[in-house]
């Protein structure tokens, strides 16, 4: 009696594993470098995909400390999505090579560079490291313009259709839904930002140029004297004078930069320091790509009033 029970149990277990394998086999495994790519890939892929992101939303995407799980998830992936340009050059090419997964190497159908087709800003005319032009292809923070979100979504949809052509119709439908939602939200965001067109602000790091251009803000100066160089005393003096003479109300920063030097300016001038979301997951309530703009625009409009 005992034996029969255990045989049945084992048989059920084996059966369930087999069934599970069959259902899982259909899921497309996508690995993205950042959370924004993950959020968009989930919206385009729907129930057909399982997406993991290597970087977290509150981490500076320029630096990621490699862990074994990153390479393991890459070696099992069907598709890889990178922000591209040279945002992740410090870590993602090395992880990709270590994964030895031929499906997702550069040039393979499973490799998606989300920046393809984006009109880049601040492309240097001549590369001079001393001037801080380390982004030789242009500023890589392009996802901070919602309209570029549509291009990212298009690139991801193309990738999914290469990897899983059978479900093309579904990906196209999801892409349409995503684009429509961006257009609808865009109107809402533009309306909210309209009263502040041309508002002068200070930014900590040069990562807001796409956001600035889309919503008509004017970044007067940066806390960093050159991109990647921490604020110096003379830069602080310069920013304090600019804040006073231009009646600047806010300094925008990101979760991974210290606000200590911005706080110095705030104490001297009464300017507000806003830590904005640069990616999905930057804060608990920023759960999707759309939330990034909801969060930032609410924060900005409240402070600029």
């Amino acid at each position: 009696m005992k034996n029969i029970k255990s045989i049945v149990a084992v048989a059920l277990l084996v059966a369930s594993v087999l069934v599970a394998n069959v259902t899982f086999a259909k899921t497309i495994k996508v690995v993205t470098t950042t959370t924004d790519m993950k959020s968009i890939a989930e919206m385009i892929g729907g129930a057909n995909v399982s997406v993991t992101s290597i970087a977290t939303g509150y981490q500076n995407p320029h630096f990621v400390d490699p862990k074994p799980s990153y390479i393991i998830s890459l070696s099992n992936a069907d598709m890889f999505v990178t922000v591209g340009l040279d945002l992740e050059t410090g870590w993602s090419p090395q992880l990709l090579t270590s994964s030895r997964n031929t499906k997702i190497q550069k040039g393979s159908p499973g490799y998606v560079d989300a920046s393809e087709g984006v009109s880049l800003l601040q492309v240097p005319s001549s590369l001079n490291r001393g001037e801080g032009d380390i982004h030789m292809y242009g500023n890589p923070h392009y996802w901070l313009d919602p309209m570029n979100g549509k291009i990212i979504a298009r690139n991801i949809a193309n990738g999914l259709e290469r990897v899983d052509p059978a479900n093309k119709a579904m990906y196209e439908a999801n892409l349409k839904t995503f684009d429509d939602k961006i257009d609808a939200k865009m109107k809402e965001w533009q309306t909210k930002m309209a009263p502040f067109k041309g508002a002068n602000i200070i930014a900590y790091h040069n990562e807001w140029v796409y956001f600035e251009t889309r919503f008509g803000l004017h970044i007067v100066d940066f806390m960093e004297p050159k991109p990647g160089i921490p604020p110096t005393p003379s830069q602080l003096v310069k920013v304090i004078n600019e804040v006073k003479s231009n009646n600047i109300k806010v300094i925008i920063s990101s979760p991974y930069f210290t606000t200590s030097s911005s706080d110095v300016v705030a104490k001297q001038t009464g300017v507000k320091v806003l830590t904005m979301a640069t990616s999905t997951g930057a804060f608990d309530q920023v759960k999707s790509y759309f939330d990034v703009f909801d969060y930032d625009i609410n924060l900005l409009t409240a402070a600029l009033k």
Binding site: H62, F63, D65, P66, K67, P68, S69, I71, I72, S75, G90, Q94, L95, T97, S98, S99, R100, R129, G130, E131, G132, I134, K226, P227, G228, I229, P230, T232
Partner: protein, 286 residues
């Protein structure tokens, strides 16, 4: 236990870690014996000063740190203090602070300089390539052969430092020079792959733990080598199973081995003390 070896990148990480561990734990026996444990941090810092300098002038990222580190090692080989009020460690500390300050000054004028420094300081154990491993194996192999052939010369020198007879050594001693060159070379290559803190731990912890475990010189080297291998394996296993950064996992395991060695030393000390009637142990008991 060996499931991590099914993944090629873990095999590469283990080979790289084991190579550095073996060479550094051997050199560590000399370093601890001479009482210059901060030599590694100072040379590591000189190496990152080289990186900062290369970044600043925009070229020579591989050669300049090497030249800087060997230059620093050469300077250190001349340190031979006859004044009893001064310790060699103090001079090494000054070199460390000086190199750190210069690095900070250079980075402050180099865009994204700190990210480049971080890359060098924290290594890339999990994405190390076979080409890198081959280069390291050749460099370390040469150092190991020199030390194996002139084993006695190097140990005689270290013992003279241990016994405070270093004033008998001249300003320029070829073995002293070779010793610092091998330390410098080993550190430049090891830091690229493992990062500064794991390299420091590989150098010091196996040697100190081995000294705690045995009094015999030959056995100290053997124990140190064995500890470095055990720590490389279990450190990577820990990193693999619980998904932690590799370098810090290895350092954690090395730290645990040190705690175990200390516990053994204390246990043996207590065990020996009771039957012994030697005056100095009586003194301790009181």
């Amino acid at each position: 236990m060996f499931e991590m070896f099914q993944l090629p990148f873990m095999v590469q990480a283990f080979v790289a870690a084991a190579l550095t561990g073996l060479l550094l734990s051997y050199l560590g026996v000399h370093v601890v014996g001479r009482g210059i444990v901060f030599v590694d941090l100072a040379l590591g810092q000189v190496s990152s000063l080289g990186v900062a300098f290369a970044m600043f002038i925009g070229t020579g990222l591989t050669t300049i740190p090497l030249v800087f580190t060997l230059g620093g090692a050469l300077l250190m080989s001349f340190i031979n203090i006859r004044d009893k009020r001064l310790k060699q460690e103090a001079i090494i500390g000054i070199l460390y602070a000086f190199a750190s300050a210069l690095t900070v000054l250079l980075i402050s004028k180099t865009p994204h300089g700190d990210s480049d420094i971080q890359e060098v300081l924290f290594g890339n154990l999990l994405s190390v390539s076979w080409e890198q491993i081959t280069a390291v194996a050749i460099a370390f192999g040469i150092i190991a052969i020199v030390h194996a052939v002139f084993f006695r010369k190097f140990f005689a020198l270290t013992e003279s430092f241990e016994n405070g007879e270093n004033h008998l050594i001249g300003i320029f001693n070829v073995w002293n020079f070779l010793f610092y060159m091998s330390i410098g070379l080993a550190i430049v290559f090891a830091v690229r792959i493992n990062g500064v803190i794991p390299v420091f731990s590989y150098l010091i912890i196996p040697a100190v733990s081995a000294i705690m475990l045995t009094k015999r010189n030959g056995l100290v080297v053997a124990f140190a080598l064995a500890i470095s291998l055990v720590a490389s394996f279990f450190g990577l296993d820990f990193s693999f199973k619980y998904d932690f950064p590799a370098g810090s996992s290895i350092v954690t395991i090395l730290g645990l081995i040190f705690v175990l060695a200390s516990a053994y030393r204390i246990a043996v000390g207590i065990g020996k003390r009771k039957p012994a009637n030697v005056p100095e142990t009586v003194d301790v008991e009181r």
